[in-house]
Structures are given as C-alpha cells and as structure tokens.
C-alpha cells in the first residue's frame, strides 16, 4: 500500500466518522472508486440536498478536512440512464493546505429542481452555478444573480439536458437567416460584386 492510498484510506475513515456523526442519515453514501487501480481512487460523498450548505461549510471549516477551494461545480443529467432522481449536482472540493480532493454528489429531482446556493461558502460558485442553471435549469436558491451566462438571455431550453438535441435547433434569432438583406432599403445593400471585364 503506497502513501497515497494510505492517505485516502485515512481520509475516508475520517469522513465516515465525522460526517455520519454530525449529519446522520442525510449522508447516504461515502464511496471509494476505482478498484482497478487504487493509486487513482477517488472519494465520493453522496448527501441529501437539505443539508448541503451545512455539510459543505463543515467540510470547509473542519481542521481535519480544510476544503478551502471549490475546484468545480457542475451537474449531471441521468435521464438516459433511467435513474429515479434525474439530476446530480456535483461539487469537487480541494484542500490547498492538505492536498486532497473529494467529490460531493447531491441528487436533485426533476419536479422540484432547486438546491441551496453555496456562493456564501466559496465565491467560485458564482459563475459555476449560473452555468449550471443555464445548462441544466437547476435553481440555486440564495444565488445573488442567477441569470443565464453562456446562452443568450432569451434562449429556450437548457442545452445539456439529455432531451435537448445536439444540433438542428432553428435559429429563431435571425429573421434574415436566408437572405441577409431582406427588408433593408436598397441603397444599404452592399453591391454584389460580379466579375466584370470592362478594363
């Protein structure tokens, strides 16, 4: 067993003890991935969305974890896999002082796609939550400015949902999509440059 796996074992043990003790049944699972190559294993904590802010604040402030850096926040749509609870919000936490990572997964159902915002815990979440809202349509309650970030404001639908098509979306923005000069006064239409050989 290498140093890395030992460290992971220890972290897993600590997480199991402390989180279970503090949040009880709200922590539904703590997994260690990748049996194939233990050197590359990762820890995933699955928790209920009711405790997400408290648990993540605890993970940030507890001296044995010190997850002071939110690496990445995103979501996964499990529609095509046929899972009961459609979405997962996924947090990737990193500790700059202890140099370890964990992943926190929070299931969010389709009929009530809301979850508490973590902007108050890590400022990083600002853009990331806006992006997740834009792409998946999940509402982050308590976010100061939850608007679309990548798509235009009047876009319909949430592109990264599994029921959104890859291409072929009609560009309803351009009434002039086929003829760019339709409806313009004629003197504004750029000259059509045909090859003329009068020189």
């Amino acid at each position: 067993m290498s140093i890395y796996t030992e460290k992971m074992e220890k972290l897993h043990q600590l997480l199991t003890n402390k989180l279970r003790e503090k949040f009880g049944d709200a922590i539904s699972d703590i997994l260690v991935h990748n049996d194939k190559n233990p050197e590359m294993s990762e820890i995933t904590v699955v928790m209920d969305r009711s405790v997400v802010t408290e648990a993540l604040t605890f993970l940030r402030d507890d001296p044995s974890f010190q997850f002071n850096f939110l690496s990445y926040l995103t979501a996964v749509d499990y529609l095509a896999m046929g899972r009961d609870v459609r979405f997962d919000v996924v947090y990737h936490l990193l500790s700059l002082t202890k140099a370890h990572r964990i992943r926190v997964r929070v299931p969010v159902p389709e009929d009530d796609p809301t979850i508490n915002s973590v902007v108050g815990i890590w400022g990083t979440a600002d853009f990331h939550e806006r992006e997740t809202y834009d792409m998946f349509g999940l509402i982050f309650q308590g976010h100061p400015d939850l608007r679309r970030i990548l798509m235009p404001d009047d876009w319909e639908g949430h592109p990264l949902r599994k029921d959104f098509p890859l291409g072929g979306v009609k560009s309803f923005y351009f009434k002039r999509a086929t003829n760019p000069h339709a409806g313009e006064p004629p003197n504004l239409v750029p000259r059509i440059r045909v090859q003329q050989s009068d020189i």
């Binding site: 072929g168 760019p180 090859q195």
Partner: protein
C-alpha cells in the same frame, strides 16, 4: 483618361533634340495607366482589415500579421479596431448565434467598399461544430467574398486568400463618382 501621353520617340529625354520639340515627353520608365486603374492599384494594395478575431483562427491571423509571415508585404497589416476605418473583415473563428448580430453590426458600420474573408472552417460552414449554439457559416449574416479553408488555415493560406481578394479587386472597376 490618359495620365501622360507618351508618343514613341527616339529622342533621349533631356537632350537638345528633345527640348526643341513641343511634344510633352515622359521619361522612358513612366507608366501609362487610366486613373481608374491607378486607384484600383492603390485600393487593392492597402486593404485594411478590421480586428475580428473570434477564436483559434485569430491566433493564426495574429501570426500572419507578425514577424515571420508579415502581411504588410501585401498592404494589409494595419488592423483597425474601429470598423469605420476598415475595408476588409477577416472573420477569424467560430461565429456563434450570440455573436452573429454583433458581426452583422460591425459589418454594417464599415464604410463602402468593403469585403469579407471567411477564415477557417467554422466561419465558412460551421466546421466541426454542427451544434445548437453555432451559426453554420458566417455567410448566413454577411456576404462573403473569399472562403479560406483549414482548421485553422495556415498563415500562407490566409495570405493566399488575401491575394485572391486582390485578384478579384483587379477585375472590379473603380467608379470615381459613384
């Protein structure tokens, strides 16, 4: 309209024989061109592009303008951030649906005469992004003169595109009083 009338003569300019006659004589190496042609020459050798770097192709466009490839050999190195001072729009990169109205607006702000080069696969036809957010070719919003293929095109390809545009301009008459 002839700029300088130069009848064939055997007299050497500046000599006694030449000064004695009344014909206006041009030096042997003078060019005789119409004014329209002269203006066309000036125009096609001073195409100023507008800065329209959208994505990856912009890096190659900058590479074309900088030390090794040196687009100024073709009179096209003066990149203008303001569309009002530009003749050419090199659409370098992917045009998304969010960006397309901006591209069109910048095109509208350019003064006539103006030309467009679609640089790279994305701005020519959408390229590898056949996807909900990407416009399938910038020719959906602006008229395009030259398409430069490649993902991204090499600087040589862009220079060839500019030369093709110059060739096209050569055949286009310049009207003095349009």
């Amino acid at each position: 309209m002839e700029l300088i009338a130069a009848p064939p003569t055997t007299a050497k300019p500046g000599t006694q024989e030449a000064t004695g006659s009344l014909t206006i004589q041009a030096p042997e190496n003078a060019l005789t061109k119409t004014l329209s042609e002269a203006l066309s020459y000036c125009r096609r050798n001073s195409i100023w592009p507008v800065m329209m770097g959208l994505s990856c192709c912009a890096i190659e466009m900058m590479g074309t303008a900088s030390s090794r490839y040196d687009m100024s050999r073709f009179g096209a190195e003066v990149f203008r951030p303001s569309p009002r001072q530009a003749d050419l729009m090199i659409v370098a990169g992917t045009v998304t649906k969010k960006m397309a109205p901006v591209v069109r607006r910048i095109y509208d702000q350019m003064t006539e005469p103006k030309w467009v080069i679609a640089m790279g696969a994305c701005s020519s036809c959408g390229g590898m992004y056949n996807v909900y957010s990407v416009l399938q070719g910038v020719d959906e919003v602006v008229p395009v003169d030259i398409y430069v293929p490649g993902c991204p095109p090499r600087p040589e390809a862009l220079i060839y595109g500019i030369m093709q545009l110059q060739k096209k301009l050569r055949q286009e008459p310049v009207h003095l009083f349009d």
